[in-house]
Subunit: 99 residues, 2 copies
Amino acid sequence: MVAPLVTVVVDVMPKPEILDPQGKAVSGALARLGFAGVDGVRQGKRFELLLEADADGSLGAERLAEVEQMAATLLSNPVIEDYRVHVEQAVAQTQGVDA
Amino acid sequence: MVAPLVTVVVDVMPKPEILDPQGKAVSGALARLGFAGVDGVRQGKRFELLLEADADGSLGAERLAEVEQMAATLLSNPVIEDYRVHVEQAVAQTQGVDA
C-alpha cells in the first residue's frame, strides 16, 4: 500500500521592512537591460515539499501544522522573513520519489 | 497622475530532471529534525515584481510578455530551470515605492 502524495509549497520572502540587496540587484539589472516600468523587486525562496498524505489524498490540519513548524524552524528565519504555506496539488499515487 | 501598481510573481524552480542539491540538503535536515513523511524537497526562487500597470489597474498582454522575457533572460536559466509568471494582486494607487 502506497500513501498518496501531496505537494505543499512554502514561499519565504524577506519582510517588507528588511532591506533586500538581491532584489535591488535584480531591479538594477532589469533597468540596465532596458526593461522599464519596474518599481521594485523582492527576491525570496520557494520550497516544494512532497508529502505523504492521508488515504483520501488530503492533508490533515495536524500535518499542515507540522509543515508550518518546518517553515518556521528550518525553511525561514522568522526574524527577517515571512513564510506562507499552501497546498499546491494532489499527486497521483506513485511508487515513491527519491528524497 | 500616478500609475497603479501590480505585483507580478515569477516562480523559478529547477527542472524535474535536474539534480537539486539544496533541496536534498533541506530534505535531509528535515529528517534529522524528526519530521517524517517528507518524500522530497525542491528549492527554487520566488521574485515579486512591482510593475506600473495600465490606468485601469490591469497588465496588458504586451507587458506580461515583457515579464516572460525578464524571466527567461535574467531571472532564470532556462537550461536548468522552469519559470512561471502569474499576477498576484493589484496594489492600490500609491505615491511610489523605492526600487
